[in-house]
Assembly symmetry: C2
Homo-oligomer: 277 residues x 2
DNA sequence: GGTGGGTTACTGGTAATACCACTTACTGGT
DNA sequence: ACCAGTAAGTGGTATTACCAGTAACCCACC
C-alpha cells in the first residue's frame, strides 16, 4: 500500500478486497476484463496489470479463453497475502489480533531455527562482525529511526551468517511485507533496551556454538516479548471497541491454544515504557 | 514456468537471466522500455507485463520518470526466486547442489517447527484425521502419482493442524515453487516407504503432545533423508560432468553439517561460481 | 563567475482500439 | 442420440497516442 498507489495497485486492492470479502467466491470466475475494467473506471490494460498482481499472489488463475478463476486463498495464496489480509481487516475497522499473532509467531519460529544455523556454521569473522555491529547500537538508543535501521542491519548479518540462501530470501519477503504496509510496524516495532539485552545473550550463546542451547533460549526469550506486544495490541483493540466506532475482530475461527499457559498481565510499568517510543 | 509460457513470461525469463547473470548489474537501470521491448521482439505492453513480474519478485524497482532500477536480489529478492535461480542454473547446464541443499534444509526447518506447533495445539479430531489419511496411503505405494497427491494432502492436513495462517500461506508458496518448476521435483521427490515409516513415528509423537520430542525426532529423521537426496543429486551432477557435456557444479556436499561447528569456506563463493554462466 | 529557474528530452504510466488465440456452448446436421 | 462445425464469449498481444513524472542542461540573472 504505502503512499504511492498507482491506478493498477488501487484496482488490485479493490478486487482483492472483493475476493477476500466474499463478493467473488473461490471457484467462480471474475467478471470479464472488459466489463470489470469499466466498473473500476480504468482501462482494460490497467485492469490486466492489477490481475497479474493478484495472480502472482495466488488469488486468481488466468485461464485463456475461459476467464479469471478465483482461487481459495487458504490453499493457494502466497505468504505476502498475510500483510494484505491484515491491512484489509484494519481498514475494515478491526485489529486482526489472530493474524498478527500468527505473524509474530512465524517470525519467532524462523528466528529460532535461524539462530540454530548461525551457531552451527557462522564463521568467526561473522560472529565478530555481529559483535562489532552490536557495539554501535548502544549509542543509538535515543534515535528511534537510526536504531531501527541498525536493527535491520543486525538481522541482515544474522541471516547472512546462516549460510542459507532460501532463508535469506524469505527474510527479504518478510521485511518487504512490513515495509509495504506501514500499519504492521506497530506489531513489529522493537523494544530497544530489551532488544539489546537479548542480543547480548544471543551473541554469547552463538559463540558457544551450541545450536540446541541457542534455540532453547530463543524459544524462551522471544515468546514473552511477543506476548507483551499482543497485550498492547489487544488494548488498542479494546479501546477502539469501547469507543463504539469499530467492530471487534473475529480472526480465524479455530481455537487458539498456545503451548504455554498465558501469563495474564505483564507489569504495567514495562508496558508503559514500551509505549513511549 | 513449466511449459505454458506466454510471451510475457518468456520476456521476464530472459531479463531475469540477464540480471542474475550480471548483464544488468544491481544499481544500474535497465534499458528503456521502448528500447528493451524492441530488442526482445515483443510489444512494450508485453514487456511491461514482464517487468511487473520481476518487480513482484524484488528484482527491479520501477521509478516513474527515471527508469527500471535493478536491485540486488540477495537483499531484495523474494523466496520465489530460489526456484528461478535453480532453474536458470539447470538450464545453464549445472546442477545447483548448493541451492537445492538450502531449499531442502529450509523445508526441514519449517517442518520441524511446524510439527512442534501441531503437537502443542492440534485438536484430537485433527490428529484422528491425520491417522485416517495415513491409513489410505499404504495401498497407494504402487501408484507414484496418486501417492504424491496423497502426500501433499497429508502435508496440508499437518499445516492446517498447526493453526497458523502465515505458515499455511508459506506452505502454499513453497508448493507452488515446486509445481511451477518441474526440475525441482527430483529434489523433492519422496521416498515412499521411508516416508510412511517416518509419518507413523511422527503421528505417535504428536499424540504424545510433546513439542520438544517431536522437534527432536524431526531434526534427527529428516536430515539423513535429505542427505540421501543430495547424494543422489550429486551422482547426477557427476554423471553429467563425466559425460563431458556439462560444466562442473558445486564441490563439497558435506559442507552442510548442522551439528559441526566447522568453519568451512564460505559457501557463498561456491554459489557465486554456480550462478555464473 | 556562480547560482537559480525554466525548458527540454528523456523516463515510465495510462488510454483506446483492433485483432489474435483459445474455450465453450449452442446449433445444426447426420 | 450423437457428433461436428460454428459463433460468441473469454483472455493475450500489438499499435498508437498521449499523460506524468524526472533529471540534466542551458540561459538569464544576480
Amino acid at each position: 500500500m504505502a503512499l504511492k498507489q498507482n491506478a493498477a495497485d488501487q484496482a488490485a486492492d479493490r478486487i482483492r478486497k472483493g475476493i477476500l470479502g466474499g463478493e467473488f467466491p473461490a471457484g467462480t470466475t471474475l467478471p470479464g476484463e472488459r466489463d470489470l475494467s469499466e466498473r473500476l473506471g480504468v482501462s482494460r490494460l490497467t485492469l490486466r496489470s492489477a490481475l497479474a498482481n493478484l495472480q502472482a499472489q495466488g488469488l486468481i488463475e488466468k485461464v485463456h479463453g475461459s476467464g479469471n478463476l478465483v482461487l481459495d486463498y487458504r490453499e493457494r495464496g502466497g505468504v505476502e497475502l498475510i500483510a494484505h489480509l491484515a491491512r484489509h481487516a484494519i481498514e475494515g475497522g478491526k485489529v486482526p489480533l489472530s493474524l498478527l499473532g500468527d505473524l509474530l509467531e512465524f517470525r519467532r519460529l524462523i528466528a529460532t531455527e535461524l539462530l540454530g544455523l548461525v551457531a552451527a556454521r557462522a564463521t568467526s569473522e561473522e560472529l565478530r562482525g555481529l559483535r562489532t555491529h552490536r557495539a554501535t547500537m548502544g549509542p543509538l538508543l535515543g534515535d528511534a529511526d537510526a536504531f531501527m535501521r541498525a536493527d535491520l542491519q543486525f538481522a541482515r548479518l544474522l541471516v547472512r551468517a546462516a549460510h542459507n540462501l532460501t532463508l535469506e530470501l524469505l527474510y527479504n519477503t518478510v521485511q518487504r511485507m512490513v515495509m509495504d504496509h506501514p500499519g504492521l510496524e506497530a506489531a513489529f516495532g522493537v523494544n530497544a533496551p530489551a532488544t539489546l539485552k537479548t542480543y547480548d545473550r544471543v551473541l554469547e550463546l552463538l559463540e558457544s556454538r551450541d545450536p540446541d542451547q541457542v534455540r532453547a533460549f530463543a524459544r524462551s526469550a522471544f515468546e514473552p516479548l511477543d506476548r507483551r506486544t499482543m497485550d498492547r495490541l489487544e488494548e488498542v483493540a479494546r479501546a477502539l471497541e469501547g469507543a463504539g466506532q469499530l467492530k471487534k475482530t473475529a480472526g480465524t475461527p479455530e481455537a487458539k491454544t498456545p503451548s504455554a499457559p498465558a501469563e495474564p498481565k505483564s507489569s504495567r510499568s514495562v508496558r508503559a515504557k514500551e509505549l513511549e517510543e
